[in-house]
Symmetry: C2
Subunit: 420 residues, 2 copies
């Protein structure tokens, strides 16, 4: 991993074009539909469409559903899809075969993992998390706690106070590895170690990690994790999510969402629940077959490369981005929010400006798609699978133009839905 | 609704072809991909593919995701899809606008509804259900109860003892309107009335009802309901499910699965959960956009007809089926399990035979797709949207042939996954 700070850097478009020519990963871009005339820097809210997904959707719909109907549950392996695609994602995050499952949404999986952690750590009742965590993480914790009453308490502390709050009341620590606003990377290994030292289990949200930075859940001794399929995995809008349960925790109690596909013998149609002995107990209802097949196409694109190569390119892209922004846009009061240290920065780069919303709207009219996060964050996704160095130059050029022309001032402030 | 018992009936294929000619609903079949050489009688496990679904999937994938990317959340109304398609399903079950939402799986929605009912009926702790209910209903109740400890008890009684167990300890009664094995219809209105009289709220599983029989949740004063999208609604394998919450219950406490899209202001990114004031509070994570769009195509096919016309045809189809089976297959020991009274029978007809598994396998080799449910149930889905009277004749003819030739005896018993 390149560990470099970034200094202002004026580099020409020509130099960056050359860098694209020399990029060993440049062929990967060809696997995607790149919308024409768009500089898409929103890769971590909704990744672009892999060509293969279009074709695969037709196969599943027309041939598997249309022609084979229920026989496809066996003949086309629909039944195995959650574990099969789970294992492919598992390979990206250092999980063993049988530790990852594709299922439901990130929110629903968070709920399952928190309940499983509470059951695996009996006698303790507190779920600890940090302010500014991605909202759904906090909300799911709050809903579980509100329902469970005295059995489960939630506690939210400032990010820098998490460690000191690892008391003997805390059953589970819920954190996100890469922060959705700033891109800041938490030290998953060290925090997990400290949590374990205090007898606390961890649930990590890897939504902004998987497919973006090298992750090794088992090297970090992570207990439980979740993540989403529609960001860096390019699984499509609202793609199914995944969950990780370390093998050692797969037999702790009943899953709280004890649906029929988590049963030891789902087709025995017994009146009595009895959980599967493996990761499948964390399935709940019937899996969303078509959506999982589409997600699989995104996940498969990672097999022709590796996370270290992708991470190196991502760091190079983001370093060029920060360098150019420093050199050309700092004068307008745009400030870097993400860390200047590449090792601390995940797959996006955020800046702030009091007129951030207007700037992003004006940039959008010139073809740059990024995210705005209230109150003043401009977030840009770095996706080495399909981004080029020359795109980075063009994005900065457009922002520079927007600032020079004062175009941000003409934008009506009208916040649109934003997909973390 | 035709209220007729069925007597043995020998009717010719020619007569039934004429009936197809005269069928005012016959045009509906043209909206579906009918797999060639298949007599598909499994409509209630996985409905067949509407042509439109294939095309719509391409639009959502290629144009909306591929070209418009995140802008589609607003421009292509992705954000509204759960409520929009929910309302269309609501129109099929007598719900008001704003009372039905498409979300998650049936199992996950059952969990939400049980928790909501418990919260709306404070001071009572028992969830009551019946043996032989569809397994996931019982399992979800068991998982919730196991997690909640003393707060929630589950009780399963024999179907004919449900009413007498409506004690002042019971918070919620969980029943399925149309039984997945026998097709028996429960009297939703009367049972709901008796439950309310005892201070008990009801959660009805409409998985085998919606799109199959006329349902009116508000006329029956139903409190909560769930149902699945992949059976009679033809929404595709593992299609998203739906939930119904009567308006009067939409503000009782927090949803237990309090994900970010159920928040009053999901894009405010607050640390504190605050539920939406309406049905949207029962959303949890990001909706499965592509899968919902596909489901919508199935649901839309109901708008060109009405449930009463469909039900009349379904009763006619099933009456012909039972009449022919009586006349031609009773001699082989095949017995009707479903009610002989059409008004008590939902959208499938079940028979039993000790060699039921072998019979269904042999029939399958001759192109008849039905379901087998252990230990001896042969289940046939009646789907008036696309079934013809002549198909019924052919199915009975094949079963007759299988029995006459003793083909069922040559089938290895090897139970395959079965999708209720």
């Amino acid at each position: 991993m390149t560990m470099s700070s970034v200094l202002p850097m004026v580099v020409s478009r020509q130099e960056l074009e050359q860098r694209d020519q020399d990029d060993p990963l440049r062929g990967l871009r060809e696997a995607f539909d790149m919308p024409p005339d768009l500089l898409y820097m929103d890769g971590n809210s909704l990744g672009v469409l892999p060509h293969r997904a279009r074709q695969r959707a037709q196969e599943v719909i027309s041939d598997e559903w249309g022609l084979k109907l229920i026989d496809s549950w066996v003949e086309n392996d629909w039944l195995q899809a959650p574990a099969r695609v789970g294992d492919k994602i598992g390979a990206l995050i250092g999980a063993k075969v049988g530790e990852v499952l594709v299922a439901d949404s990130t929110s629903v999986n968070l709920f399952k993992m928190l309940a499983a952690a509470l059951q695996a750590n009996t006698g303790r009742h507190v779920i600890l998390s940090e302010s500014g965590n991605f909202p759904t993480d906090l909300y799911i914790m709050q809903g579980l706690s509100a329902f469970a009453g005295d059995k489960v308490c939630q506690q939210i502390v400032e990010p820098d106070q998490v460690i000191e709050h690892l008391s003997d009341q805390v059953a589970v620590l819920l954190l996100t590895q890469v922060h959705y606003k700033t891109g800041q990377i938490r030290d998953m290994k060290e925090i997990t170690r400290l949590a374990h030292e205090a007898g606390v289990l961890v649930v990590w949200d890897l939504s902004h990690s998987t497919g973006s930075i090298p992750v090794n859940v088992n090297d970090c001794e992570v207990d439980f994790a979740v993540g989403c399929g529609y960001k860096f995995l390019n699984g499509g809008p609202g793609a199914p999510a995944y969950l990780f349960v370390a093998e050692r925790h797969q037999n702790s109690g009943w899953p709280i969402l004890s649906g029929w596909l988590g049963h030891r013998d789902p087709f025995g149609f017994s009146d009595q629940y009895s959980p599967a002995a493996d990761i499948n107990r964390f399935q709940c209802g019937t899996p969303s077959v078509i959506a999982i097949a589409i997600l699989e196409c995104g996940v498969d694109l990672f097999t022709s490369t590796d996370m270290v190569a992708l991470r190196d390119k991502a760091i190079a892209l983001s370093s060029v981005f920060i360098g150019l922004m420093d050199a050309r846009c700092m004068q307008f009061g745009i400030k870097l929010v993400s860390s200047r240290n590449a090792a601390d920065r995940g797959g996006h780069v955020s800046f702030s400006h009091p007129n951030g919303y207007g700037i992003m709207q004006a940039a959008k009219q010139r073809g740059v798609i990024g995210d705005f996060r209230a109150p003043d964050i401009m977030r840009f996704g770095i996706t080495p699978l399909y981004q080029r160095f020359q795109d980075i130059f063009d994005v900065v050029d457009i922002i520079h133009e927007v600032m020079t022309m004062g175009e941000w001032d003409k934008q009506e402030y009208n916040v649109q839905p934003a997909w973390s």
